[in-house]
Amino acid sequence: MSDRIKTAFARGKAFIPFITCGDPNLETTAAVVRAAVQNGADLIELGIPFSDPTAEGVVIQAANLRALQGGVTTDKIFDMVRDLRGDVKIPFVFMTYANVIFSYGAEKFFAKCQELGVDGVILPDVPFEEKDEFLSTCRKFGVDLISMIAPTSEQRIAMIAREAEGFVYVVSSLGVTGVRSEIKTDLASIVASIRANTKIPCAIGFGISTPAQAQQMAKISDGAIVGSAIIKILAAHGEAAPSFVGEYVREMKDAIKNI
């Protein structure tokens, strides 16, 4: 497991913002990352846009489209990460789809991750049964392949948790990413089953947008992941978004830090 990820969760409950790279441009993404870090983010999920993000709701779909229309590419994102690593010390985890890595070449992609200090990858279209597609290459370059566990995982939880690396990404609800007014899944019992099978931390994502929700999720797990709510701020403010995202991250982190 990446030392940076271990450290990120060792400081208490983690707040994990998700940002689509290149929405609306990479300069803004870098500024948003720095604003999030200055305001208490513990780990950053960097989305590499994909033309057809099947696990995303409308908000992140639109962000992917804006980023691709702005001309972002995997190589340009690596360049941005190189620049960020000059001053940002918290872990980075890429969130993207299998074809982005497959097409780039897994060997080349994960070598680049290692070189630039990207600690893990989250691939929503690579379930347990298909992880061999990338696992040996991830291990070769010391990049954690993050596993997801869903409300429908049931008897699969033990199998997935036992082999999980970095942290476990617990999907809060059925459906795709996006803001939800209420999360009804019995997450406490899912987290308990995960903890019975692994010592690595669990963070909950999908549908979280308010400080109260973050608090509720952090109480039963090790951290909260927030995507769509941040992307909405970016959609509303564009290049002026960094200070607004910073403010939001501060508010969310404050809500969970003393749990």
Binding site: D52, Y97, A98, V100, P127, T152, S153, R156, L174
Partner: protein, 397 residues
């Protein structure tokens, strides 16, 4: 031909969100339980025979044969099935399976609307709820089929994301399935998506080649020299090929939509212009850019307007067992008109791609050779868009 892990060579697999894994595992278990079940097969045969109108005719296209002056041409008339295309074969099988699994709701993607109409039909027959996802562009190109689905009691959702065509309809149906699994079966319309769909859909469509084989042997006393079908995702083509895969003397030819040409960006010919990738639950060939972004494809045919191809086709291509050829819009429209005038049969614009290729190869083959071409559907739905292609407007006021 499916191996243990749901793969065809390296192709196939289950590249889907964890949320859906138990759903496909449950589907595979149910399919394995029912596929050889006597009662299930009796019910399905009954529906095929008395509802869908199977077996479909194998028609000797004598005038086309004489006009082209080469190989003998037979048409496998899937266009005569109830709902007007081969899609009903797969839908009846999957809907019956879903019913046995206790599902009460069917969701489906559709391109040309034929699969949507077939799903809406089966849902009406089996008293199930039905929601069909269709790219907004296609709801315009195929307005008649949208009306048919609504008439049959289905809800039609116009998908505006991405390019508003078939691939986006597939993505949206997967998203819907992720949100509602317990009572819902995704009735996937082609030999694509995650395992076990490519196998299930192929098995239900294999009735096409099973019938062709029996019919041609009865008429000619020998196997055909080539079987030809159009190929988008590839369900009617795999159905046409399947029972001939081990008959090495039979050429298997899939006709892809080249749109305005394989040397342009306005094409949907996956084997001709794509490369290996992972998308929509499977490893296969996809039209994509250098960074793996899925390409916006184009064809006059809404049913072939898809950037990928089923994994079994990818494998048949790699091992050289099947040939895949590109056919342009212009060639397909010519064939659409040719078959209408020559045989009095208006084919679906999708099927016209296969007819166009037969028009190229038949004259070069000797008269003792036999070609069977599958007419996957009927062309009524395409009259308005072909008229538009020819510069005419036929909107009824």
């Amino acid at each position: 031909m499916t191996n243990q892990n749901g793969r065809f060579g390296v192709y196939g697999g289950q590249y889907i969100p964890e949320t859906l894994m138990n759903a496909v595992i449950e589907l595979e278990a149910a399919y394995n339980r029912f596929k050889d079940d006597e009662n299930f097969n009796r019910e399905l045969d009954e529906l095929f025979k008395n509802y869908a109108g199977r077996p479909s005719l194998l028609y000797f296209a004598e005038q086309m044969t004489n006009d082209l002056g080469g190989a003998k041409i037979y048409l496998k008339r899937e266009d005569l099935n109830h709902t007007g295309s081969h899609k009903i074969n797969n839908v009846l099988g999957q809907a019956l399976l879903a019913k046995k699994m206790g599902k009460t709701r069917l969701i489906a993607e559709t391109g040309a609307g034929q699969h949507g109409v077939a799903t809406a039909t089966a849902a009406a027959l089996l008293k199930m709820d039905c929601v069909v996802f269709m790219g907004v562009e296609d709801t315009i190109r195929q307005a008649l089929n949208v009306y048919r689905m609504k008439l049959l009691g289905a809800e039609v959702v116009a998908v505006k994301s991405g390019t508003g065509t078939l691939k986006d309809a597939v993505s949206e149906t997967f998203r819907e399935w992720t949100a509602r699994i317990a009572d819902t079966h995704y009735c996937l319309g082609s030999v694509m998506g995650p395992h076990p769909f490519p196998t299930i859909v192929r098995d239900f469509q294999a009735v096409i080649s099973k019938e062709i084989k029996a019919q041609v042997l009865e008429r000619e006393g020998k196997l055909p020299d080539a079987v030809v079908a159009c190929c988008g995702g590839g369900s009617n083509s795999i159905g046409t090929f399947y029972n001939f895969i081990n008959d090495k003397t039979v050429r298997l030819i899939g006709c892809e939509a080249a749109g305005r040409g394989v040397d342009t960006f306005e094409t949907a010919a996956t084997i001709a212009t794509g490369r290996t990738g992972i998308f929509h639950g499977m490893k296969s060939y996809f039209c994509q850019d250098k960074y793996g972004q899925i390409a916006p494809v184009y064809s006059i045919s809404a049913g072939l307007d898809y950037p990928g191809i089923g994994p079994e086709h990818a494998w048949l291509h790699d091992i050289g067992r099947a040939e895949y050829v590109p056919v342009t819009d212009a060639e397909a429209v010519d064939a659409f008109e040719y078959l209408s005038r020559t045989e009095g049969i208006i084919p679906a614009i999708e099927s016209a791609h296969a007819v166009a290729h037969v028009m190229k190869i038949a004259p070069k083959m000797s008269r003792d050779k036999i070609i069977v071409v599958t007419l996957s559907g009927r062309g009524d739905k395409d009259c308005a868009s072909v008229a538009r292609y020819r510069g005419e407007t036929i909107d009824e006021l």
